[in-house]
């Protein structure tokens, strides 16, 4: 089994996203967050990950999707980046799936807005599409 074809999946506003398992450091449930005043709106806050302070990026806002309902608590997908760990705030964690590389296609033309730039491509799974998120671009909030 090739690690390169394994994807950790999660849901954001009903869309199924995936990031390569190698990039994912860990997946954790909702964490208490400290908000950062004056920060870009895509920044969800700071979480304490066993003594390490990790910036959380609100993927819904990063992708230009509507905000989560107030009561709903996001989950954390902590990914490794060049500047250390960053958490991606998602709605729901899916499973780790193995993908047949031949089902890959470039981002569909119909995809619009901010999401377009952050998606490397699409895998056609049975009955649903898996959007491959470019984590380096996703965490690059400035």
């Amino acid at each position: 089994m090739n690690d390169n074809n394994q994807y950790c999946t999660f849901l954001v506003d009903g869309l199924l996203f995936g990031v390569g398992v190698k990039v994912v450091q860990e997946v954790i449930r909702y964490q208490q967050m400290t908000m950062v005043p004056l920060a870009p709106r895509e920044i969800g806050g700071l979480i304490n990950l066993r003594g390490q302070i990790v910036t959380a990026v609100e993927l819904r806002r990063r992708l230009g999707l509507p905000d989560r309902a107030d009561a709903a608590k996001p989950m954390n997908v902590v990914v490794r980046t060049e500047e250390g760990a960053v958490s991606l705030l998602v709605d729901e964690i899916g499973e780790v799936v193995s993908i047949d590389p031949s089902t890959f296609e470039p981002p569909p033309e119909t995809l619009t807005g901010a999401a377009r730039a952050l998606i490397d491509g699409v895998y056609k799974l049975k009955g649903r599409l898996l959007l491959v998120l470019n984590t380096d671009k996703a965490v690059n909030v400035c």
Partner: protein
């Protein structure tokens, strides 16, 4: 060639070790040369210099650094004659040898960065060294030993031309046989001679700084874990668990301090290079300057030492170049020809003070003003309104250079403003005082460490924030909301002891939504560079030692935050960047500038003589004052927490036992004891005890006072006649006769008379910390 390269890769660790060792030796070399010039008879210095150069030559021969070897070789020849006494040392020789040291350093740097010896041309230097050596020979015709002078020069020329490493190597090998074999023997002798005089610390080991940094991070995490454990166990009834948690608490605190200490280095390590700098600059400007150092052992975090290296060097060069006058001018002014530059370092109030004092011509405010107007930094009108002190501070203005003519030493217009910025970047401050004709004092205050800092935790808009204590001046509480807060053009101001203090509301500044529901206002008075401002927060929580963690890349651009930290409950708090907040809110704008300016004006030139005093009351309304600089901290303890150890009142403070001194008692007031019993009831009524914490030889000592009254900035006339022991003098402050307390005498006396058990308990924790610790490499 291939094989050679591979070998070099294998040898890389060896090379690294060689570099580290050589750098260390070279630093010492600079000092030795200067010492030698002052006292040419110090032969043990010569022996040590010779040994260093010989070691470098020998090692680089083994590692195949031919160019370095040949340069070192010429120097060694000259040195060996100096050491044998067949040649006398003079300025020319010293200069040449110092240049040799520079050349070696340059090559070492090149080896470090590019793994090659670089293509610097050292033939002129080699020629000079050989010439000096030969000059000696010619003068002493009876000196029979033939000096193989021509050989090294030829070698070095060849080396300079050789482009490929392999050729260099070949040349270097060719040089081996040419080397006269009395050198190694001489080196042995030198080592024997020197081994008695030069003490090398045998119980120190070299540790990679990266490892120390890692340890520091781990300890930071341990501190947080400890805090959480303590919080959870507090709710548990299990005594064994409680005990273990307490033990964990103590061990963690000690471990933290221990690891912090490993990162500490004496400032002397940095200062070692300054005698050389002073000498070079003085020689270049034809001046005579003596450098004195005081407090070399003062310790600072390694990262801070690194950060102040360049600013300090610049200041030193400046002092010699611009501060100290030429010998003839000094003579004319009735001063000794030799100028004196004094560097002092000492700890004070949890910070390190560094002073650079010269006895030169001082800074003339009139000249400064004229220059500033010429350069368009200020208008003539502004200049006329400026006080002398402000004018002197203009040297910190960007683009200001006072040099009458631009020298190659300093005066290129990048100067003191960079020094100031760099010092402020690490949370320090720079101050300058000068008297025309008498000299200039530059005072730098910097924090001890950047990794773990004391901070004030405040709440605003429901969020916690940490404010570094170094920026904190005082806390003001207004009982009624907005009482005493005035608005000018919508800008809130508060009158603090007659001076207008611009106010910022933290929640508005950070656009926090939750409005404060608390009654009254809490103003945190902060210092941002030269300015002061008040930060209004919802709640002031506590002071804590916090572990500073950097902000993620996404938030780096936030100027108002300096970093983050993890609180005892595991939550994350942001650390405020006081300077950043002030700038983002335009506290530094012209409007407030003008305010500050007039304030300075009113206080006038007297400000230099003013002292900041902490006023407090003892029982029976006795008013006392201590210089605020002597005070480490003000604390309030529950009276119930004050315990006895022997005859001594003590309190647990920051994981240690802090002895408390009852001032009324120590001051020998006979009535005090009688009053003590009478006072018992009222004491228990006031559940809190006010304590002035003073740090004495690394140990905290608390002075019990009745009531802390105020902090004032005032010019006082001290009357010293007829005072009781423990008091320096009396003065009239705010219309009341106030005694100035001699804190160090009182603390010393109290520690002397303290019960042996209490003293032992206090010293125990100190001893544990003063165990020899590994030094950073």
């Amino acid at each position: 060639m291939r094989e050679r390269e591979r070998e070099e890769m294998d040898d890389f660790d060896l090379v690294k070790e060689f570099l580290v060792e050589s750098y260390e030796n070279l630093d010492r070399l600079d000092q030795d040369f200067i010492a030698l010039e002052i006292d040419p008879t110090a032969t043990e210095k010569l022996a040590s210099i010779f040994r260093t150069i010989h070691t470098i030559k020998g090692t680089c021969g083994c590692l195949g650094f031919g160019k370095l070897e040949s340069v070192a070789h010429v120097g060694e020849n000259l040195l060996s004659r100096l050491r044998d006494g067949t040649l006398g040392i003079n300025t020319e020789i010293t200069t040449a040898l110092l240049k040799l040291v520079d050349a070696i350093r340059e090559i070492l740097h090149s080896i470090e960065s590019a793994q090659t010896e670089g293509n610097g041309d050292y033939s002129a230097l080699c020629a000079t060294l050989v010439r000096l050596n030969q000059a000696g020979t010619a003068a002493e015709a009876d000196h029979a030993a033939p000096v193989p002078a021509a050989e090294p020069i030829a070698v070095s020329m060849a080396v300079m031309e050789a482009p490929a490493a392999v050729e260099v190597h070949a040349v270097a090998e060719a040089a081996h046989p040419a080397e006269d074999d009395h050198a190694p023997k001489a080196a042995e002798n030198a080592e024997k001679k020197a081994s008695s005089g030069d003490s090398v610390a045998g119980n120190a080991i070299r540790v990679d700084v990266e490892l120390l940094d890692k340890l520091m991070t781990l300890v930071g995490e341990l501190v947080l874990a400890r805090n959480q454990v303590l919080q959870h166990t507090a709710a548990q009834q299990e005594p064994a668990l409680q005990r273990t948690a307490q033990r964990l608490n103590l061990i963690t605190t000690e471990l933290q301090e221990g690891v912090m200490k490993t990162r500490m280095q004496p400032i002397g390590n940095l200062w070692n290079k300054f005698p050389r700098v002073v000498r070079d600059v003085a020689n270049a400007c034809g001046k005579k300057v003596r450098l004195e150092m005081d407090g070399r052992e003062t310790e600072l975090d390694k990262t801070i030492i690194e950060a102040i290296k360049d600013p300090l060097t610049h200041v030193i060069r400046n002092s010699v170049d611009h501060g100290v006058e030429a010998p003839e001018k000094r003579r004319a002014a009735g001063k000794p020809e030799e100028g004196c530059l004094l560097m002092r370092a000492f700890h004070e109030g949890g910070q390190v003070n560094i002073e650079i004092i010269d006895d030169g011509k001082g800074i003339d405010p009139a000249i400064i003003k004229r220059k500033a107007v010429e350069k368009g930094l200020i208008t003539a009108d502004q200049a006329a309104r400026m006080s002398e002190r402000e004018a002197v501070h203009l040297v910190f203005a960007p683009g200001f250079s006072t040099a009458e003519k631009i020298t190659n030493v300093s005066g290129r217009g990048v100067g003191m403003d960079v020094v100031k910025t760099n010092i402020e970047k690490i949370g320090g401050t720079v101050d300058i005082q000068s008297r025309v004709g008498e000299g200039t004092t530059l005072r730098i205050k910097i924090p001890l460490t950047l990794a773990i800092i004391p901070a004030l935790i405040v709440t605003s808009g429901g969020e916690r924030f940490a404010i570094p204590q170094v920026s904190l001046l005082e806390l003001v509480r207004l009982e009624e909301k907005e009482a005493g807060i005035e608005l000018i053009n919508g800008t809130p101001l508060y009158r603090l002891r007659g001076n207008l203090l611009p106010l910022l509301y933290l929640n508005r500044q950070l656009k926090l939504t939750n409005a404060s529901k608390a009654s009254g206002e809490n103003i945190v008075v902060l210092r941002a560079g030269e300015r002061q401002f008040g930060l209004v927060v919802d709640q002031i929580n506590d002071t804590e030692e916090i572990v500073v963690k950097p902000l993620g890349k996404q938030l780096k651009s936030q100027a108002v935050f300096a970093g983050t930290t993890i609180m005892g409950d595991g939550g994350v708090a942001l650390i405020l960047d006081v300077l950043g907040i002030a700038q983002s809110a335009n506290v530094m704008s012209q409007h407030t500038d003008a305010n500050a300016r007039t304030a300075v004006h009113q206080n006038g030139a007297a400000s230099a003589d003013k002292r900041t005093l902490l006023l407090f009351r003892l029982r029976d309304e006795e008013r006392m004052a201590v210089p605020l600089s002597a005070v480490a901290r003000l604390e309030e303890f529950d009276r119930a927490k004050i315990e006895h150890a022997g005859n001594q009142f003590v309190v647990q403070y920051r994981g240690k036992i802090m002895p408390l001194i009852n001032l009324s008692e120590v001051l020998g007031d006979r009535r005090a004891k009688a009053r003590m019993s009478r006072r018992k009831k009222t004491e228990s009524a006031a559940a809190k005890a006010q304590v002035v914490v003073y740090t004495h030889q690394g140990q905290n000592v608390g002075l019990l006072v009745e009531w802390i009254v105020d902090v004032i900035d005032e010019q006082i006339d001290v009357e010293t006649s007829g005072v009781r022991p423990g008091v320096l003098g009396t003065a009239i402050i705010k219309g009341n006769v106030t005694e100035l307390l001699d804190v160090s005498a009182i603390v010393q006396k109290a520690l002397d008379t303290m019960g042996p058990r209490a003293a032992a308990a206090c010293e125990l924790s100190d001893d544990l910390l003063s165990e020899p610790v590994a030094r950073a490499a």
